[in-house]
Symmetry: C2
Subunit: 156 residues, 2 copies
DNA sequence: CAGCAACAATTGCAATCGCAACAAATTGCG
DNA sequence: CGCAATTTGTTGCGATTGCAATTGTTGCTG
């Protein structure tokens, strides 16, 4: 009955959170996706672009341009994959570690302030609900995407 | 302590929901914003573009182009505001009502399926938490936006 | 009434991102 | 081995959106 109210609230809060994050990250010359990538990356262990795209829930082409930008900022370094000449390994530079540390401090301060309106028990409930929702929506997407990209068949 | 987990889950679910909605709305040649606009509009009572932008949480320029598109699809009509030559009034056409009805049926079916993993009590809790979060984040944005856009002053 | 600030809508521009097409490299199967 | 299918990353293109500047209108104030 309140499904729709949940949905609208969730949608609106998404927009607001995106906007608020942009305001925070702007001073570090990062957008949300770039920041999330920095969080994942590591100075030692190199990530492949394809793995980054799967983790960040975006297209490979988006990761290409994301990596182009972070590289131009000197925050990451591309290096060839020793075992596969198609692949590249992306690692954090010292500047990347520093920039991530600054941005992370600002973002996590903001996050903490926002979620301080919930108590510990509520957070647990929220996490549990969000996980269940994530599972359903993931399944819905998987179902829809295996349905259309192939099989223009309608076979007998 | 779990603030960050909440946040990441929320962010990920936002991406998934956006993606899932796009898959549903694509068949009606609408994106999420266009659909939300159709929900607001009415065959009789005309909306001003500025009011739409505030309701949809986007820029006025975005609404201009949104209305351009919906008009080109024949779903809405622009008419001059009788009392103010600066304004325009936007109303739903019959085709707009029909398109909205189809899209709404599909979307609400999907929403209902997604939120069926929560029971009534959980939905109430979720709504309450989302409302509190919305309030904090709104306040945060308002604070940040009144801080920077003006006052490059640092006066004596 | 003249001037000016505020407001409605639009346009230009840049940033962002998904999708499709592509080149290079790798894998697998006959 | 040899060739087809798959995989990795890139590029072209279009769609979407925010921000700043602009035009035309309104309303307030001296």
């Amino acid at each position: 009955m309140e499904d729709y109210q949940d949905y609208r609230l969730f949608q609106e809060l998404s927009l607001l959170l995106d906007h608020a994050d942009r305001l925070v990250l702007r001073q570090f010359r990062l957008n949300t996706l770039q920041y999330n990538a920095l969080l994942l990356l590591d100075p030692d262990e190199g990530w492949r672009l394809t793995d980054l795209s799967e983790r960040l829930l975006c297209e490979r082409s988006t990761v290409t341009r994301l990596v182009d930008y972070l590289e131009s900022e000197g925050l990451i370094a591309r290096s060839p994959d020793p075992g596969d000449r198609r692949s590249q390994r992306v690692t954090l530079t010292a500047a990347g570690v520093a920039r991530r540390r600054e941005a992370q401090a600002a973002i996590e301060e903001a996050i903490h302030r926002r979620f301080s309106v919930l108590n510990g028990e509520e957070e647990q409930q929220l996490i549990a609900m969000l996980k269940r929702l994530r599972a359903v929506v993931s399944a819905e997407i998987a179902e829809k995407e295996t349905a259309s990209p192939e099989a223009s068949s309608t076979p007998s």
